[in-house]
């Protein structure tokens, strides 16, 4: 069964002469429990796909199905219970004047969770923060701790699918390692499905089973992580991407 399936997706911005096609004819299928990576350079449309899935971009055509429910113009409440997103910048994605408690309880309240109090402590434990962080404001947290709160917020309504948009690119490598380990643990614990966008092939290779390479709005190639490690790319663009990524660390 597929958790998420996208068929001939087009996404565009503007209209007439100003129209930019950000995503062109992309089809992909993510199985339940899979961890799927989307890589590409900036402007390749990888984040736009995530935004189209969550309904943050209204101008799209094609077919998108999440857990056998076809997506229309509007997303149902059940959809957001199923699918949650973690954004790139933990400094920008948390309200500066709301405590961790308020951020998380609002997310749970919206999904009709009743035992918010007990869930809160477990949620904070799950992301490795502990109850002591419950009444802190974002400015009292480090970047890594903020991203943990953002992950806790996404997990608040027990979703099946997490969309991760460069979740560690604003963090130091040492903190990045903590967050990546946390994501691995959470997936094993809750049986989550991940769709992760990143420009760092090392991270995608660490966390994902299958990887889709995008360039200029088009999906060029889907390969599994073993093939990627052996540098067995079919297209010259992917080969170039892999080589520059390997070269920059050698």
């Amino acid at each position: 069964m597929s958790a998420l399936s996208i068929d001939h997706l087009d996404v565009w911005f503007g209209s007439g002469a100003d129209r930019t096609d950000a995503v062109r004819d992309v089809s992909l299928d993510v199985a339940v429990g899979e961890s799927f990576g989307l890589v590409g350079e900036s402007g390749s449309g990888k984040s736009t796909i995530l935004r189209a899935i969550t309904g943050l971009v209204p101008t799209w055509s094609g077919r998108m199905t999440v857990a056998d429910e076809a997506l229309g113009r509007r997303r149902s409440r059940a959809f957001y219970r199923n699918v949650q997103m973690v954004f790139q910048d933990p400094y920008g994605s948390l309200h500066p004047r709301q405590t961790v408690d308020r951020v998380l309880s609002e997310a749970m309240h919206l999904q009709g969770v009743t035992d918010i109090d007990t869930r809160m402590d477990r949620l904070l434990d799950d992301v490795g923060l502990g109850a002591g962080f419950r009444f802190r404001f974002p400015h009292q947290l480090s970047g890594g701790q903020r991203q943990r709160v953002a992950i806790a917020r996404a997990l608040a309504c027990e979703p099946q699918i997490l969309l991760l948009d460069e979740p560690t690119s604003a963090l130091d490598v040492s903190v990045q390692a903590e967050i990546l380990n946390l994501l691995v643990d959470l997936r094993a614990e809750h049986g989550l499905t991940y769709v992760m966008v990143s420009h760092d092939l090392g991270i995608v290779g660490h966390l994902c089973d299958r990887i889709a390479v995008m360039n200029q709005g088009q999906l060029i190639e889907v390969l599994d992580v073993e093939a990627m490690r052996r540098l067995e790319a079919q297209t010259p663009y992917t080969r170039h991407l892999l080589e520059s990524s390997i070269n920059s660390i050698r």
Partner: protein
């Protein structure tokens, strides 16, 4: 190093007085820079950018710079006048910032900015300045420099913007280049290209490069010597090719926390910070 270093720093402190007491961003740093590529690595908040800014005396008040020695070409710049500093900055020592989107003037064309940069330091005619600007753009591998001169910064891509920044910094022919995360705003495929250009120019012109980055692997590949900073001090310094033999647990922690495409591990190593690292005296990176 046979000749005198381009830059000689001894016991550098950068302090910021705050309501809660004085915050020391850089705590007693000593290093020299010859005609070489020196990498400065550390996490955010380790003081690496502050070090880069301090050698240009670009710390804004109320921030303070203190040092036993801060020599640029043997000239003590601790007490140099602002006028003298303006001549030195750009003229002898230049800085490339992280993001070209914020360091280029959005309402001037590329050409105007390049020519202004050159004419601020040398008495040259407009015509001559334009010719040199074109030649430098060509050096940073920009195709069709004539057209690019007439463009505004929003009309160029990130990688091109960064190459324009490099061209601008190199026009007055400085001999020290401070590059503060010059490629972290760029895509991997463009990163290499920009690094190659910096590398080539630094070699060809025999400049000294201070390369500030959080990416230890990148620095190891690109530099001759590496300084590893932790909370305002140097914890370890080594030759880039000897990084694999690094001793300090912090350096090892940084190295092992990066996911590696070719050598997958089930779990990434997480850095266990030892409070003693903060208190250990700064290692000197003078040569």
């Amino acid at each position: 190093m046979t000749d005198a270093p381009l830059l000689d720093v001894e016991n550098l402190w950068v302090r910021f007085p705050t309501r809660a007491g004085v915050f020391d961003a850089v705590r007693g740093l000593s290093f020299t820079l010859g005609r070489e590529r020196l990498g400065i690595v550390g996490e955010s908040g380790s003081g690496k950018s502050m070090t880069g800014r301090a050698v240009l005396r670009l710390i804004r008040p109320p921030g303070l710079i203190e040092a036993d020695r801060l020599d640029l070409h043997g000239e003590d710049i601790r007490a140099a006048s602002e006028k003298r500093m303006r001549a030195l900055r750009g003229g002898r020592i230049s800085m490339i910032m992280q993001d070209p989107k914020f360091s280029l003037n959005p309402v001037m064309t590329v050409g105007q900015q390049l020519i202004e940069a050159l004419r601020a330091h040398e008495r040259v005619s407009r015509h001559e300045a334009r010719k040199r600007a074109l030649a430098t753009l060509d050096e940073v591998a920009i195709r069709d420099p004539e057209r690019v001169l007439g463009l505004y910064p929003h009309e160029v891509s990130g990688g091109m913007g960064q190459r324009i920044m490099i061209a601008m910094m190199l026009l007055p022919d400085p001999d020290i280049l401070v590059a503060d995360e010059p490629t972290s705003a760029l895509d991997v495929s463009v990163q290499l290209q920009v690094l190659d250009i910096i590398d080539k120019l630094v070699r060809d012109r025999g400049m000294g490069l201070m390369f500030i980055s959080h990416d230890l692997n990148l620095v190891a590949k690109f530099c001759d010597r590496i300084v590893i900073m932790y909370s305002g001090r140097i914890v370890e310094t080594c030759r880039a090719d000897a990084l694999r033999h690094a001793q300090h647990p912090y350096t090892l922690g940084l190295l092992n926390s990066v996911p590696d495409l070719e050598h997958p591990r089930a779990r990434l190593e997480v850095l266990r910070r030892d409070p003693a690292w903060r208190e250990a005296p700064s290692v000197s990176a003078r040569q």
